[in-house]
Point group: C2
Chain length 318, copies 2
DNA sequence: GTAAATTGTGGAACGCGTTCCATGTCAAGT
DNA sequence: ACTTGACATGGAACGCGTTCCACAATTTAC
């Protein structure tokens, strides 16, 4: 059952049926009624794919994300979803698992008009390569694209990092451990952490107090454990998430050691419960802005400021 | 630039070009080479929408979910995403915000062939209504569809609830508070909680120790506060999530009151940190199964057993 | 050597909705 | 009475890839 069948059955042409379906002008009341009756009678529903083909757009936005387990992605997706819903767009989840080949596959799907636009919540592919696909549709990144003329909404982490590190400096902590989720060679966030550190302390972070690939509670726990095994005793941990900081804390608790100062990120529940100072990144807001850029096909860059939230860690812990 | 342009430019027909693109049989090496060269030269990429139209399927699965903020949904989506990715399907997020009209809109999109199938992670619409749309595509629910012949993957909560409540009974707790996320009139989970309660205690839960619409840390906090304001003093809280239990705990901490026994759900980080007994629902596994049902268009029902995980709450808390 | 099978290719038809252009009708305007 | 413009509708063309059928050219088989 297609639009031409309805046309025949109602005695009108497909054009008129289309006009009725889309509530266009210039259709007589009589035609409208007759056609609507037939549509109902034969339980006809227009094919969305054909419609998309004809209209040359899908109202679908592809969202590339490595996984959905981390609050960065979850919140981002939630923000994107909200905005897309409000504008009548739909979002298609494109899991990348941090694989560049997969990301390229998705860019090619944009090229093949499967999506109107694509949002990278994170990307392994170099921006140079991504940039080449701009001609095929609107592309938005959630990281600072630097010199590249690519649309982006992203968190401005540095000033909040500087705030946090200044706080550390002010309180005279000396052995500063930094737990990163990814290496500085691949992660802009890690780079920002380093540059902030250098701005505040005029020196690079100490290698022996550094750890990468730390992303979960468990990772935080093992990182702390490892430091102690290596006879390194940080007095403050600058971590990539409250959950991680909570993991670090757990190690000290389990070993009846005094809990060092912790700094988390992302204002997660764990940090709220344990009163860990944190850095709030407003990811949901970033998602919203990214989605808006995607929909309007604007090549703007919209930084969103993060903020250091101080909390007094409790002196006595369970 | 479309397939016919490539056909003309290469001196072959569109059929042959199509065969080259899809790596079909019966194409001479010469034709393959020539056509591939032209495709490359003109940077041609076949249109996915046209392809979908022609093939009569999109390889898209719509996933209806109220929001992406709760671990139930996040984990479910993650499981679905994994499975879809492995099978070459894509998932389209369909935010419902618990609104039946919106859900209906999505069912109609299934009817209009926008998706091959649709998964309801939760539904406000009565199953009767959903059932009617089965003819238009594969539909999968993540809740027990009871008598309806609808595909479903869902958690079997009752036996774990009975385990937890039996534990409560065994340890002689008397004032049992139940914090639910939604009302029994709409929520199957709430109903399961009630029926488990009745099976264990041979009586209904006490109304004055009951609270609904409790879904977050903050909600747990206020629920506990409210009980105390009403001079109700539960000695155990059976809650809908570890985060909620953590919120309850916080109220007692803040007021220097002895922390009652807590029982959480969903094995969240907060519960792990605070050693709150919990119920693990294996949502990711449910998501996987649901997605598989959707892809294979099977009308099976796959229950997944939950399990009560006991943990010794620490006596002294910070 | 001829029938049968294999390989290669063209092209129309199909999937299906939208839109533009042509044509026609009728009432308002002058 | 005649033009103009609003209203109404048909129908072809378009968006674009896939597939089936027909036909031709080779091979293989006996």
């Amino acid at each position: 059952m297609n639009i031409r069948d309805i046309a025949k059955l109602s005695g009108y042409s497909s054009g008129t049926v289309s006009r009725v379906i889309n509530n266009n002008d210039y259709v007589s009341e009589k035609a409208r009624k007759t056609i609507k009756k037939i549509i109902k009678e034969y339980d006809y529903a227009p094919n969305d794919v054909a419609r998309n083909l004809s209209n040359g757009k899908t109202c679908d936005i592809g969202v590339v994300l490595p996984h959905n387990k981390h609050p960065y992605y979850t919140q981002l997706v939630d923000g994107i979803m909200d905005e897309a819903f409000a504008s009548g767009y739909r979002i298609v989840l494109l899991p990348s698992k941090f694989d560049s080949k997969t990301e390229l596959k998705y860019l090619n799907r944009l090229r093949r008009k499967a999506y109107d636009s694509i949002i990278f919540t994170s990307h392994g592919l170099p921006l140079e390569k991504i940039y080449k696909y701009k001609q095929y549709g609107s592309i938005v990144c959630c990281q600072n694209p630097g010199e590249y003329d690519i649309a982006a909404a992203y968190t401005m982490r540095e000033s909040s990092y500087i705030d946090a590190l200044n706080w550390i400096k002010l309180h005279n902590f000396k052995k500063i451990s930094i737990l990163l989720s990814r290496d500085t060679t691949v992660s802009a966030t890690a780079q920002k952490t380093f540059s902030a550190y250098e701005k505040v302390f005029n020196t690079a972070p100490k290698n022996e107090l550094l750890n990468t690939n730390v992303t979960t509670f468990e990772d935080g726990y093992s990182a702390a454990k490892q430091f102690h095994a290596n006879h390194q005793y940080p007095d403050v941990y600058f971590t990539n998430g409250d959950d991680i900081a909570a993991g670090v804390r757990q190690f000290y608790l389990d070993n009846s050691l005094e809990i060092p100062q912790l700094i988390g990120q992302e204002n997660q529940l764990s940090g709220q419960i344990l009163n860990i100072p944190t850095i709030n990144h407003h990811f949901q807001q970033v998602g919203k802005l990214a989605c808006r850029l995607a929909i309007n096909n604007q090549t703007k860059q919209l930084p969103v400021e993060s903020e250091f939230i101080f909390r007094q860690q409790k002196a006595i812990e369970n």
